[in-house]
Symmetry: C2
Subunit: 336 residues, 2 copies
């Protein structure tokens, strides 16, 4: 089983004899099963899945690895790795009863999951295409008096009928001044002439997430909002210009951030430039000012600069891209 | 602010000067805001919410408690309580840098949240009513050849159009032998004459969850499945008979479990009897064999015994009930 081997190949680097995997998303990545509770213990030469009565029969029948009843006592190793970013303090205290030294690792699977396999990129491309279709659908519904919430619900129904599993997150549809809140929830606000409309949406298809943000003007826009729209767009292009293997993640963020700062809006770019997308809507790598590491071929990330003017409105433009051998492919694949 | 006072009233019992609340559901319960990230620090005489740039303006405008930029350094107390069941080991390590002794508490808010206020029961009643409507809708669609997955999708669309926010969990619709897996996911299996149909579904309305399970026979059922249907139904009635304030939670589980055991199917009841329902689909109290504590007026719990026969099929019957002053009200409110 290929992905479990990827973990086994990291055990030495992590300086552990085995890794305990409890995170359901990691479990799905490794064994292809959705378990609300389960524990996979990966050692150099084998892997055993521990599940309770709800899953035992189904897993035993279909998996090629060992399947046992959930029983922590069976775990033995000199150095036992666990995910410090998933394991709660209460579960950590239970682990302390194991023989062996506990080694906290920070999201160990994410360092593997952040580089996508071709099959995963195919799923992400399909999710992004369905995401873009949903965006076009929302735009087609814009009319005076329609509320943010109505658009959000119609979009959910559209995606579900088109085969989407669920929304990646509650659709952010924000009209006018509401767009100044980066995480506004769609509400009862009706659409008025002259409103800016911010649409930040994502859908899950085949377990993989899409994520995109667009801004459209409904009627004649406020001149300052038009101005920041162009600044944000240019900032995104600045980042995309250097989006390729080897680029420092901090430099990618800086490319967009310094452009916005140079236009005098630095303090209004309230968040990081982007994040990895995959089985989770937010995963590694984080594209932050102080982000570590470099872009690698196969990483799938969002690039989403924004400027938010309290009381007036905000602009964020977000594409999901995959880093290719010599640049990037824009999965969102839709004009600004 | 009433709910924060409820927490303040517990600080002494927990032997802490202040409580750190990071869990987004607890934050919603306490301040009525959906935050993906935030930290509420509750002391005897005040409460301060720490949020990042995404939420600062919106919270500052609308909340009556103190709102500050997320900055852990400001937290000071001699004994600092934190939720050991939510705080990751990595975040715990950050907390160790605070002055003061860290006191791990196990889901402290759940002991407050498990007893619902009248307004919450109203929301749970409305969610359960929408849940039951969804069940009737699914039953109306049963016809030879329809797949589990088709029913699951139709149900989601039905609920969303009717005002439901989202499904509480992916609808479990299981035909025939698939029903023997307590957590089967709806798949491509078409419905055949003589199939048992297990429907375990829930919807979220006004942030509160519904949860119910029913079994219907499509055509002439297998005689053993008919038999276990009656055993499970009787087991549920045995539990409901003693469902009132003061009953030991372990006794409630035992009432159903011992009936099933007395009929020779004890080993096929693979899970606990039920769980609390509220803002989370699974919350306190857990209704388990070794569950601690007693039922209290205002608790909202599921009662869901089941018997699962591998290769043949399974029966689970689940109602959500609220414990009243002298018994219970069945929120699911729908005949078996």
């Amino acid at each position: 089983m290929d992905r479990i081997e990827k973990v086994q190949n990291c055990l030495k680097t992590w300086e552990v004899d085995l890794l305990i995997v409890d995170n359901p998303t990691d479990l799905f990545y490794l064994i292809g099963k959705e378990l609300s509770l389960g524990r996979l213990v990966i050692a150099q030469s084998n892997a055993i899945l521990y599940v309770d009565g709800r899953y035992y029969e189904a897993c035993k029948e279909s998996l090629e690895i060992g399947v046992e009843e959930l029983a922590e006592a069976a775990i033995e190793g000199e150095r036992i790795g666990f995910d410090a970013n998933f394991t709660t303090f209460a579960n950590y205290e239970k682990l302390t009863k194991l023989k062996g030294e506990l080694v906290p690792l920070s999201n160990p699977l994410l360092t593997i999951r952040e580089v996508k396999e071709p099959g995963e990129i195919e799923f992400l491309r399909a999710a992004a295409a369905l995401g873009s279709k949903g965006y076009d659908f929302v735009v087609s519904l814009l009319s005076e008096g329609v509320t943010e919430e109505e658009l959000a619900i119609e979009l959910e129904l559209f995606w579900r009928k088109a085969g989407g599993e669920r929304v990646a997150f509650a659709p952010h549809v924000a009209f006018g001044e509401n767009s100044a809140y980066p995480h506004h929830h769609a509400g009862k606000r009706p659409l008025k002439q002259g409103d800016l409309v911010l649409i930040d949406i994502g859908v899950v298809l085949n377990h993989y997430n899409s994520d995109m943000t667009r801004v459209v003007f409904f009627g004649e826009p406020d001149p300052e909002l038009q101005k920041i729209f162009h600044i944000v767009h240019q900032a995104q292009l600045k980042a995309l210009e250097i989006c390729k293997p080897g680029t420092l993640i901090a430099d990618l963020d800086q490319a967009a951030r310094s452009h916005i700062a140079s236009k005098g809006y630095g303090e209004f770019f309230l968040h990081s430039l982007g994040h990895g997308v995959g089985l989770d809507i937010h995963e590694a790598p984080g594209i932050r000012k102080n982000g570590e590491g470099i872009l690698k071929e196969g990483m799938v990330i969002t690039i989403e600069p924004g400027i938010y003017l309290s009381g007036t409105g905000g602009v964020r433009l977000e594409d999901t891209v995959v880093v290719t051998s010599n640049g990037f492919e824009n999965l969102t694949n839709r004009p600004i």
